[in-house]
Symmetry: C2
Subunit: 258 residues, 2 copies
């Protein structure tokens, strides 16, 4: 059966997360239902990152096996037709080798987090950002973020239900940029690692927000990390500012295509 | 009664437009209902621009008369509290003179239009842009737009139900910028005039899109304008890419405040 890689964008709000669930809407379930319209029967797809409820994707990657040797462009068009009106879009499709795997072939995940700083509730960006009503000190947050970069035991910053075999991971990037966004001043966080622990990004951002607000000294983030204790973490921030922004592969299936 | 100016942001989707209507939700109705929570009784507010159904605002301006001499910041906070969960936010409030009028004191209106060019349906920006699935020639659109700038009889570009006394208006600006937007390549239109006719911006954008797609030569826009005939207009584009982006006053009430 020919295998296809799918580049997937979605709005997380209506979903209980990526992963298929028996009685709640999921992104995986929506795409599998669309695949069943093209080729009747059961479909099971795998994804690079299993995002939580409310988390968005700009460029999630999944793969599926089909009977027919679809033209990739026509496959994406047909899936988008059947996905409507769910806020899920296949932005690219590509034919891949039979042993290529969206999750196991991936060597890097990239996340973006949008934090809007303004008083009045956001209207156009509601559900697309985490909004706080106070200003934040980006320089202090950057100083604190430096402690998190590199190889560490991230026990402090992973949820207690995290299923990863080890809390030891390498964080390759955590940069914070000030952006004049559509609804006002934003901090945009860019994170990059081979893989992330459950709730790791939201644990980072929620903790760094405390530093930006002046409630935590930057050094307290280093101390929290070294404690390797979940109770040393700051508050976990809400999901609606988080986007799975990209997945890296040795041979990018979408690059290769054109 | 003290008069207050309100700077208002809203998402147009759930509303039949700015103007209060007997049996449909309106932005004006939502704000008047919030005012009635602060000071019981009937409230009637006036706005600089009466936007149509589905049209958004980044910075609409309205004014209201209240009994109490509210602190402007507390007024905006109280209104935002009562406006929830409607996607309407008071981003600023200011005390103004009793004869200041949001509509009649205004000498300039600014509109922004977002046109997204991509094939897959937008998820995060659904309802916030007009999406076309083909590329557009921005240079040709700019050439055509030059014909529209200045003092003209805009009969071609106003709706047949437009109530303005005269179709002769001065268009001060129509610029088109290419932007790498959140969901892909966008054209952003910036328009500025003392006032606009009904459906004028959407008639412009819909017509210019035909030029960008290669269906119209840029000169045809000049001919359409000179015809002063509604039937010479191109298609009127949908409302969801349109934003009332600002209103100009001789003495800006929000600038004056801080």
């Amino acid at each position: 059966m020919p295998r296809f890689a799918l580049l997937v964008e979605y709005h997380g709000a209506p979903f209980a997360g990526w992963q298929r669930q028996a009685d709640q809407p999921s992104v995986q379930g929506a795409i599998e239902a669309a695949l069943a319209k093209l080729e009747p029967g059961e479909h099971t797809i795998a994804a690079a990152g299993r995002t939580d409820a409310g988390v968005h994707a700009l460029a999630q990657v999944a793969h599926c096996d089909l009977s027919k040797d679809w033209d990739p462009f026509r496959l994406s068009e047909a899936l988008n037709y059947h996905l409507k009106p769910a806020p899920v879009a296949i932005t690219r499709a590509a034919r891949v080798e039979d042993d290529w795997h969206a999750r196991f072939s991936a060597h890097e995940r990239r996340y973006t987090f949008r934090l809007l700083m303004r008083r009045a509730p956001a209207t156009h960006d509601a559900g697309l950002v985490w909004q706080v009503s106070h200003q934040l000190d980006a320089a202090a947050m950057r100083e604190a973020a430096q402690h998190l970069i590199g190889l560490h035991d991230f026990t402090t910053f992973r949820s207690s239900i995290c299923q990863a075999a080890s809390p030891v991971k390498t964080l390759d990037e955590l940069t914070i940029t000030e952006v004049d966004g559509w609804s006002g001043p934003e901090l945009r966080f860019f994170l990059r690692a081979r893989s992330f622990l459950h709730n790791q990004v939201r644990s980072f951002v929620g903790t760094l927000e405390r530093v930006g607000a002046g409630a935590w000294e930057p050094e307290r983030v280093r101390d929290a990390l070294e404690a390797a204790d979940r109770s040393a973490c700051g508050p976990v921030c809400p999901p609606q500012g988080l986007y799975l922004a990209g997945v890296g592969y040795q041979d990018d299936p979408f690059q290769a295509q054109k």
